[in-house]
């Protein structure tokens, strides 16, 4: 029954006259019948919730860790003033932990025929789509003794994008990319570098890079400069199978992989390469292809936002087949997976030759800093057993990495914080060496 604290308080105070003045049915009814009548009046005078009109506006996307504001407009078309409380219900992970109750509740005071706009500030703690649940309104009568309560469904979806924390590394990596540009061939001559331009010879340039024809045409000695090749094709392959669900620190491996993939995509699109993305476990979870350079990062971020690890074993054969279809010409395939011995040996290794045959393959894996911590543990028998188990795990990872290297695969194994810059470095060095 939608009574309020005031009703209960009045009933409690009523025990004094009932107990002292008229301890009988007469006294009992003399207190409770007026109270019930007042409640009935209050109910009749409270604004009906059903006839209210609600609309939403506001943010539809935000980055993880950043707030989002969603506005809710409450229109009161009735002739009765609306006083009461409103709860804008969202999934628990949409709120900053600890503020779920206070942040979702608003006081409401809408005179007849007017409207009010309320702002709900969300601070999502999880990636993905957050859908608004119902809006519940409790409308109080003028005496505050009785309420009407009802709910409205006002759909709204807030997409929370991956945080892309590694974007702080982007300026330094871009600087390194620019350094690659315009170098003379002496430093970085490789089979894949492209002719860029001619410039005047300065002392110190390699005499082998002097272009004698061009020198003959003009008065000064000209040298050829080189730039890293452009318009290469990069396919980022995210393994979203069970090994990506393991938590490293506070986040799943997949989140660290995403972060690294985003940094690499940002860097590669600036370097003029074309970036595609494939997320796969037993089936394709996300596929982004053929986006223009300026468009690639937003579409990647949007595609990654809703990606969650699945607790299934990755189908390496299907993943390879899809990757081969998605990467038509000789390109760089960056496989973000984990270096667990069993899945790699049984899943990936048998089908790896099909990839390496036509493409350059780079495997990036998230290492667990906790294992490193365990490996350094000393002092007691337990700690030493921990260290031994960690050393064993590290040896297995190393062995798996060596097996991959034997197929001509570049392996990057780093902790979540270091993975993104390490992967970017690996990409840059491959580019510098002209291996793309």
């Amino acid at each position: 029954m939608p009574v309020t604290g005031r009703t209960a308080l009045l009933a409690a105070i009523g025990s004094l006259p009932v107990g002292v003045v008229a301890p009988s049915w007469t006294g009992f009814l003399a207190v409770n019948v007026p109270l019930a009548l007042a409640c009935a009046c209050d109910f009749a005078l409270a604004a009906p919730v059903r006839r209210l009109r609600l609309t939403r506006a506001g943010d539809t996307t935000t980055r993880l860790g950043e707030p989002a504001d969603v506005q809710l407009t409450v229109t009161n078309p009735t002739a009765r003033p609306l006083r009461g409380e409103l709860r804008d219900a969202w999934p628990p992970s949409s709120w900053q932990p600890g503020t779920e109750v206070t942040a979702s509740r608003n006081r409401l005071d809408v005179p007849p025929g007017e409207r009010r706009r309320l702002t709900t500030r969300l601070r999502p703690t999880r990636r993905g789509d957050h859908r608004a649940d119902r809006v519940t309104i409790r409308s109080r009568g003028p005496l505050g003794l009785f309420t009407r309560q009802g709910s409205h469904r006002v759909p709204w979806t807030l997409r929370v994008l991956p945080p892309f924390t590694s974007r702080k590394h982007l300026p330094s990596k871009l600087a390194r990319l620019r350094e690659l540009d315009g170098r003379t061939s002496v430093l970085i001559r490789g089979q894949g570098t492209e002719f860029d331009s001619l410039r005047e010879y300065v002392p110190g340039d390699d005499t082998r890079s002097i272009d004698w024809r061009a020198t003959a045409r003009q008065s000064a000695v000209a040298v050829r400069t080189w730039r890293p090749e452009r318009d290469r094709h990069i396919l980022l392959v995210l393994d979203t199978g069970r090994t990506s669900a393991g938590r490293v620190g506070d986040a799943p491996r997949l989140d660290a992989s995403m972060d690294a993939a985003l940094l690499l995509a940002a860097l590669a699109s600036r370097a003029g390469d074309r970036v595609d993305l494939l997320a796969h476990d037993r089936r394709v979870r996300a596929l982004v292809q053929g986006k223009a350079a300026g468009d690639v990062l937003p579409s990647l971020v949007t595609a990654l936002a809703t990606l969650e690890p699945e607790l299934v074993e990755t189908d390496a054969r299907g993943l390879t087949a899809t990757a081969l279809r998605a990467a038509p010409r000789s390109s760089l395939i960056v496989l973000l997976t984990s270096l667990e011995a069993a899945p790699i040996e049984e899943g990936l290794l048998p089908v790896l030759p099909r990839l390496t045959q036509r493409h350059t393959v780079l495997v990036a894996s998230v290492a667990d800093p906790h294992i490193t911590e365990m490996a350094g543990a000393r002092g007691s028998a337990e700690a030493v057993y921990d260290a031994a188990a960690a050393a064993q795990a590290q040896a297995e990872r190393r062995r798996t990495a060596e097996q991959l290297t034997r197929y001509g695969v570049t392996v990057v194994d780093a902790t979540p914080d270091d993975l993104a810059p390490a992967l970017a470095d690996a990409y840059l060095s491959m580019k510098a060496a002209g291996r793309l």
């Binding site: 209960a8 009988s24 219900a89 608003n106 006081r107 007017e114 649940d133 490293v248 028998a381 064993q392």
Partner: protein, 453 residues
Amino acid sequence: MTESPRARIPSVADSGTASTSTAPTPRQLWTRSRGIALAVVVLLVAAVAIAAVRSGDRHGRLDPRSADSQGSRAVAELLADRGVSTRVVTTVKEAGDAAGPDTTLLVADPDLLDDRRQSRLHDATVDSGGRTVLVAPGSPSVSKLAPGVTADPAASFDSTLSPDCALPAARRAGSADVGGVRYDTLVPGAEACYLDDGLPSLLHLPATSAKDVPSKDVPSTDVPPKTGDSAAGPPKNKAEHAPQKGNQAPSEPPARGDTVILGAPDILFNDRLDEHGNASLALQLLGSRPHVVWYLPSLSDDALDDTADDDSFFDLIPSGWLWGTLQLTVAAVLAALWRARRLGPLVPEELPVAIRASETAEGRARLYRKANARDRAASALRSATRTRLAPLVGVPAARAHTPEALLPALAGRLHSPGQDPHALLFGPPPTDDADLTALADRLDALESEVRGS
């Protein structure tokens, strides 16, 4: 949580947007609830119909006010004609209070009484000096109400039996429908009548005392029914004794009460009263005293614990406190309702999987510890150290685990005496946990020395 400046909207009432409310409309409510409503109606109708059909003959059973076939109004009327008054009581307290030397107490269904009521009833009747008639007590009640008597588990085969005893009432009545529960007794002076297979269905127990009350304390006043004036029709009169006035009290009322145990209630039923000697037997058994107290045990008998002179706790406190507490209870219920109402339901959300990536390594560490696998732990640690040392001393990784390659390269980098790199890196496994811990420390020391050199 901000409020926008006030905005007057011209015609909010007729804006055409569909309502977002989740409250069901009256039509939806009706659609949803009509099935349940129909089921409730069907259930009620069925319950009433079944009750009407089934109530039949059990209704008013052994009630002296009931004219149903199993009622006992005929007996009561016949008794009234003979000046014996009948009073119906429904509580054990009333029954106990009514018991007296000029009263016959009939207990209609003693098996319905629980232990405490049985003993209470027995206490009230044993010293009253009146007669107690127990109608078909089974084994649950007979031992308490009539000590020394047991009920035979096998019921009598025949319903109509012949008296076969010296009890005058039985002899006068002749055969009667008393066949039902059969009893066995060790009480001295008990008269066993209407035997079936050796066990009686009617038992007359004399006054239960060591006094020399004669077993034949049946009052001489027998009350045979008059014919033709009873509601149940004229019973066949087998009692040939000339009727006397029923209210004539027994000339010598016994100091203590006697007890009659009837094996079956049939002789008291309206529709059976006129068969055999039923009427005669019933009137003789019940008409020995001027008053009959007819005790019908009922569920509303809850005043057992209240003795007359003992006020309960609630009688002792002032009524103001009681009413005040009642009002406070109302307030508490309202407060509970107030706090119980949620502002909308909980929002469910799928939770992410939380598996630590290092779980397998931790599990392996626990396994090592549990199995005391010092050999494996030591070899893992040594192998890790060798792998790290090999590049430091210029040995290829492939040959890091062969002593012949690693140790000579290592020898040049070690300066502190007393170290045996061979025993440390390739030696036997440690014998206890302390050894293992020491091994780990010495491996660390070796590595840092090589790095530092």
